[in-house]
Amino acid sequence: MKKYIIIYTLFISIIFAAQTFGFHLDVEPVIGKAGESVTIPIKLVDINQAMDIDAIGFTLIFDENQLTYVETQNATLTNEFHLLAGKELQSGQVKVLGAKFDNPVRITEDCILVNIVFTIKNNISIPCSFSISEWLDDLNPDSPIQGDFNHDGEISLIDVIIVLQKIAGVLPPK
């Protein structure tokens, strides 16, 4: 009986843990004068569970009539990334990818993911907003490869052990 209670407890814990991994990406609208350069921070907020991040990707959609994309810059989270780049693949859409090849960055609180620099084409008096789509990799809550917690490209017993360690709160520092 005791055995079943332990299993049941862990069973419930795993479901809870899976549901509690969460965060949001936040981008504030911009205003400004024609010709000005503006830096837009892409923030990772409402983090309710520590996250290990070594690969990111998203597409930022902006109003191409008001803004001209210039570049993507490293920020708090991506300062140690080995590769970070943004490309305007279509007018008004910048795809951003970042990768860190050694240990992932562990985040436990709100931080800035990247900064994206634009120049303003025409005066913007009504705040111009952005939207984000195509969340990839560690930003994708619906990643088809769920369970690959050590990001070795395989789902193995090690990943299960990591989950159990997370639940038990005994995960060693990386």
Binding site: I7, I14, D137, S143, G147, V160
Partner: protein, 473 residues
């Protein structure tokens, strides 16, 4: 016991709720077989499925009939059919549409001098990466460096450079080791650990000569410069193959092997056969080559008085402890009625077993697939014989029309190269996963397909970087 049971239960629960499932890339193998009519008047290619259904593989025969003197190379989902002597061209196919030519390119330049019988006689293409391969040209003194991925529109840019092997065929003949007929008879090779090993038969007027040994030239594939192995004679930088391995690399489709298990190259040669009655090299042999030190070791010596078999013809190396060779006692016995097939130990040279079911058959060549099944081209019965090398049992005989000569394997997966985690998207995570595989320096064939983005046969940091940038496409 209780603890183990509990752990098992926990893993099962975790598996269900975290979608922990075995992600399989569903490797699919297809064999491409070069065929020839009995009188060598025409040829074609056949396609054989790798996996049997209800015990049988399916076959498509007589695809795109052409001349009989053909070679075959493959890379990724593509294969290249090479028309050789005095046809001198290469056609590219995708395995999913094996009768449709993607492009056809010449294997000689219109103004190219110094070709044997005005033919470059392209034998095989050795792939170094997606954008680089080496075209081995039997009738020329230069290897062409080519781009096998060139598009149809850019096919005139197929040739991107060349390697000079003229030192191995010095017409002036100042030394007794000079191949004075002017052609080194390059016939095949392998890329191993960033080096290209090119086997040259170095025949003199089509026959082996005692003082003119077969050689292996070694080139750095990053700089395309020849490496001095200090194993050659005089100014020759390559590796001199020891007697009795004359006529090395014949037939080229199954006489040059690389075994990753022990990081060793194996080259076999039948020495004097057919009309070359001088008897140089006895009945040939097999030599191993250390690709790092270039030291050669004779594995099988068929020149000794105690050798009970015929000339060593086609060979296959399964492991450090198991290989196969075809014994040809009489090269004038066209039907191969005296031939036999034997297994041997490549480490000790011990002959292990005679495969009785293949006695008296004309086995032109053989090739080992990833499942360690040996596919043997049995021209006597116009069939491919698939041998399980674990017990030498015949798994299946596949009828081929016309006669099978050479078999090559194309492996494909149901996910795109670069999609290392097989989630259908190439992204930064794939780059990170590729980098970790490169660091680990260990991978499965499936992982290699996913992460070897530049197609050079290994996973490196460069693949990770390339995959990262591919995420923007």
């Amino acid at each position: 016991m209780k603890r183990n049971l509990m752990l098992f239960c926990l893993i099962c629960i975790a598996s269900v709720f975290f979608n922990i499932t075995e992600v399989s890339g569903k490797e699919q193998m297809t064999a491409v077989v070069i065929t020839s009519s009995a009188g060598w008047t025409s040829g074609a290619h056949s396609i054989v499925t790798g996996k049997p259904v209800n015990g049988h593989r399916s076959v498509q025969n007589k695809l795109l009939p052409t001349i009989s003197d053909l070679g075959i190379s493959n890379h990724g989902p593509y294969f290249y059919r090479i028309e050789r002597f005095q046809s001198d061209n290469i056609s590219k196919f995708h395995i999913s549409n094996p009768a449709n030519v993607i492009w056809n390119v010449p294997a000689l330049s219109s103004d190219e001098p110094d070709l044997q019988s005005q033919s470059s006689n392209p034998f095989t293409m050795i792939i170094a990466s997606n954008e680089k391969a080496y075209l081995i040209r039997y009738g020329a003194r230069t290897v062409w460096i080519v781009n096998p991925s060139v598009s149809y529109a850019d096919r005139h840019q197929f040739k991107i450079g060349q390697l000079d092997l003229s030192a191995y065929a010095d017409e002036n003949g100042q030394n007794d080791y000079d191949d004075t007929d002017g052609y080194p008879e390059m016939c095949g090779g392998k890329v191993v650990n960033g080096k290209l090993f090119i086997v040259m038969q170095r025949l003199v007027d089509w026959c082996p000569k005692e003082s003119v040994h077969s050689y292996v030239a070694v080139f750095d594939i990053h700089t395309d410069t020849e490496i001095d192995t200090h194993k050659g004679e005089g100014s020759l930088k390559g590796i001199k193959l020891p007697s009795p391995v004359y006529d090395a690399g014949f037939p080229e489709s199954s006489s040059i092997h690389y075994l990753k298990d022990n990081n060793t190259l194996y080259v076999s040669g039948p020495a004097s056969m057919g009309f070359c009655t001088s008897g140089v090299g006895g009945k040939g042999g097999i030599v191993s080559i250390d690709p790092k030190t270039y030291v050669t070791t004779i594995v099988l010596d068929a020149s000794t008085d105690t050798w009970e078999y015929g000339s060593i013809f086609s060979t296959a190396i399964v492991s450090p402890f198991k290989g196969y060779f075809v014994s040809v006692p009489d090269a004038n016995d066209i039907g191969g009625s005296k031939n036999s097939v034997h297994s041997f130990n490549p480490t000790t040279g011990e002959i292990l077993e005679t495969i009785s079911s293949l006695g008296g058959k004309d086995i032109w060549s053989m090739a080992l697939d990833r499942q360690k099944k040996l596919w043997m081209c049995n021209s006597s019965d116009s069939e491919i014989v698939i041998l399980d090398t674990s017990d030498n049992a015949i798994e299946e005989r596949v009828a081929i029309d016309p006669l099978p000569k050479v078999v090559s394997f194309v492996y494909t997966y149901d996910f795109e190269a670069g999609d290392v985690n097989k989630n259908g998207i190439i992204s930064a995570q794939d780059a990170v996963d590729a980098y970790k595989l490169a660091l680990k320096n260990e991978w499965t064939n499936e992982q290699l397909w996913g992460a070897d983005f530049n197609g050079d046969g290994e996973i490196t940091a460069q693949d990770a970087i390339d995959i990262f940038w591919a995420g923007f496409k």
